[in-house]
Every structure is written in C-alpha cells, then in structure tokens.
C-alpha cells in the first residue's frame, strides 16, 4: 500500500510524546513518571515507524524499524534502571513520600 498516508500515526505519536512529557512534569508519582517516559518513547517510535511506512518502495523502510527495536530495548533497560533506582531511593528513606524527590 505504498500510497497510503500514515502521517496520522506520526501525529498520534507526537500526541503521545506531548502527553507523556506533560504528565512527566505534573505527576509527582514516580511510577507514573516512569510510565510517562515509556509513553513518550512509544510516541517517538510511532513517529519513526509511521515515517518509515511513508517511504516509497515495496516494503516499509527497515532502517527505522531496526532503530525502534534498538529503542525499545533501550527503553526497557531504562525502565528497569529507573524502577530499581526508585525502589532503592524509597527504601533508603521510606518515610519520604513517593514523588517527593526535591
């Protein structure tokens, strides 16, 4: 379907990015922030893949696909790291309210 227009996916990705960033800023809960990062990441990936799907040719551009694969793995690593950090920080001072990281 080389002449289909997937830019709406890219737009949705942008929306995900913006929603994610907005929530990142306004949400104090650390888990939500981590999820927000993931949502932002998904938004970025949507943009990549949507743009890849737009390229002329028999198949979508595989390069963004590979990049997104890399990105997904990196982002799961980031999630793991951030969760471990949150956990450790909260354990270190369990009286500290979640999110109160100022």
């Amino acid at each position: 379907m080389p002449d289909a227009d997937y830019r709406i996916y890219a737009l949705a990705g942008m929306a995900l990015f913006a929603i994610g960033f907005y929530s990142m800023l306004v949400q104090a809960h650390l888990l939500r922030r981590i999820m927000a990062l993931n949502v932002m990441g998904s938004g970025v990936f949507l943009v990549y893949i949507a743009l890849g799907a737009q390229t002329p040719g028999p198949i979508p551009d595989p390069v963004p696909h590979a990049m997104v694969l890399t990105g997904i793995v990196v982002s799961v690593c980031a999630t793991g790291l951030a969760l471990a950090l949150v956990d450790r920080a909260q354990a270190a001072a369990s009286e500290v309210e979640p999110g109160d990281d100022a």
Binding site: T55, P56, P60, A66, M67, G80, A91
Partner: protein
Amino acid sequence: MTSRMPIGVLSLALLAALGWAVLSLPLRPAGLTAASLAKLPESGVTNPVTAVLLNYRGYDTLLEIGVLLLAIVAVWSLRRGEWPASHLHDRPLLMPLLRVVLPVLLLAAGYLLWIGAFAPGGAFQGGALLGGAIVLVMLGGLARRALAFERLLRAGLVLGVIVFAAVCAVTMLLTGGLLQFPAGTGGTWIMVIESAALVSIGLTLGLLYFGGRPNAHHA
C-alpha cells in the same frame, strides 16, 4: 496543582510544533528502503530488518547489547532483588504450567531466533520469550538452584557482549573492517552473534524482572 495550566499550554504548543513538523515533512520521505533492499543479498539474511540490525547497523546493536548489560549491572549495583525462595510445592498450580509452557517458550524463542534471518523475528523477540521463560523458572522455585550458579548467570549475561566483541575482532582480522563479514558468510556470523545475544538478552530481561542482584552470599 497550579502549575498544570501553564505546563498544559506549553505542552499543547509543543504538540502544535511537532504536528507542524510532521505535516511539513515530505509526503514520501527518501528513506533507505531502496538501499537496504539493494544490499540485502550481500547481507547474509533475507529479513531486511535483521539485515539492518545486525549487518548494516550492527555497530548500533553492539552498543545496544552493551546497554543491556549495563542495565543489569546498574540494577544489580543498586539493590538486592526479591528472588523467590519458595519451593515448587508452595505453588501447586505453577509446576504443571511450567511443564507445558517452558518447552514451548524455549522452542518459540529458538524459532524466532532462527526465523529472524528470513522473516519477522530475531534475537530480541526471541530474547523476550526466553526472558519470560526465565521469569517463570525463577518463580517456579528454581531460583535457588540457579543462584547457586551465580557465576554462570554472570557469564551468560556477558556472553552477548563478549561474543559480539570477539566477532568484531575476528572480522577485523579477516577483513580489516569492524564487523565486516567476509563475503558470503554474513548469515553465519549473524547467527553466531544472535545466538549469544539471545542468551544474554533473555537472561537480562528475565533478571531485570527481579529488580536486583542475587541475594546470595558474596563469593
């Protein structure tokens, strides 16, 4: 929260800018589809994504495997994980499930690894399944036994990086180029890398789930 309003406005502005950017992109961006298809026969695999991932942009993947290892190192450096110590009979439902699911998962992982060369699939997807299997195994009470071989775990975790690096070195020796496979042998090299990576990815993703280093004694 009083700051929501301005942040919301700014985020909407961001969204507007992003939308503007997307819509102003060429409808048919150039991309590299043609180029990657053109070189596909030389890459040693027929799945273009795998070709990009492990051949054209194999260097990215090398670093990515590094990032994976780094992630587990980082998580282990931060905290001790909650490794299930329970025995199998504590969880009566799990054992039968494991008996069925585990072989399937392992098979599927191997299949995905193999099929990756031609069709959707590959080390990452396979690794994810393997990771799931590992989680199940651990939950099933095999954790203790696995942890007795902590060194083995570590070896498995670093396997991907070491093999990938070794391939780098060997290809350098053979062709003088980093990750430049001798003509026609691409598929083999990719399979070697992916197999090692599969183990490491699976272990990493699986162990990430437990969120910390093994509780065991220090060696």
